[in-house]
Symmetry: C2
Subunit: 152 residues, 2 copies
């Protein structure tokens, strides 16, 4: 049994809930996906393994995975909630290119200290940090310049 499977079982047990087949498959597929995903995308993946699972169950399981600390919400996009699994993926910054939609990630560590200091000042117990930056990736910046080479 994988580490995350173990953690999920533990969380469920402690809540008096059951680690059923649908839940297990949803967890497993969430950990096979290495990009951000929304509920429907996860559902599609799970369906390939167990076609009888329902989208509703995926929607119902996602909050459990989040509470268990196995999945976290990521940058919402085109009107849909998105998620990503947590597994040797320490908290990171998301950079979203407005032009091509690419998402880059960088380390959040460098600002953690500053945040901790501010948290202390306002006496806030931080549980979740989400830092999203929107703009243009280098490719799209380059393309923009091509189209408008002279902006004197």
């Amino acid at each position: 049994m994988q580490d995350h499977e173990h953690k999920f079982a533990e969380y469920l047990a402690q809540k008096g809930l059951k680690l059923t087949a649908p839940r297990k498959y949803i967890l497993l597929e969430a950990f096979k996906l290495h990009e951000h995903f929304n509920a429907e995308e996860l559902y599609e993946k799970v369906k390939r393994v167990t076609p009888e699972v329902s989208l509703a169950t995926v929607y119902r399981t996602l909050p459990l995975l989040m509470e268990a600390g196995l999945v976290q919400s990521a940058l919402r996009s085109s009107g849909r909630d998105r998620y990503e699994h947590i597994y040797g993926h320490p908290k990171h910054i998301h950079w979203l290119c407005r032009s091509c939609g690419a998402i880059m990630e960088t380390d959040l560590q460098p600002i953690n200290e500053t945040i901790a200091a501010q948290a202390k000042t306002i006496r806030f117990e931080a549980q979740d940090i989400e830092l999203n930056i929107k703009g243009l990736c280098w490719k799209c910046t380059a393309n923009d310049n091509e189209n408008q080479p002279d902006e004197s």
Copy 2:
């Protein structure tokens, strides 16, 4: 004419759009609200001044205000997009208490430098920075301790 009204007029003109009465009232009310607001809340405010305005127009005007740099999206909550005006409100960190829903704000300045450095490394042109932190405010932390004074 206020500063922001001016800026909106300018933006609209440059886009070949018109500064109509509904748009003006929506702008004005957005700037009278000093907390975060969603489309409907803004609509309610506007309706008190000009009852004939429609919710659809509020929804249509918000993107214009954002593109004009007068309003920005804030922490989404209970399934609704939220907004805040920008006016002597430099970018700030949002701290959301999961227990009581309170929102605190602190200065984003201290981490700007770090972000700029990372942006340079990945050659990303940052336009918008959103840093949201969820957890417990000091009041709710205190209440929690009251209820579970001994967690040996």
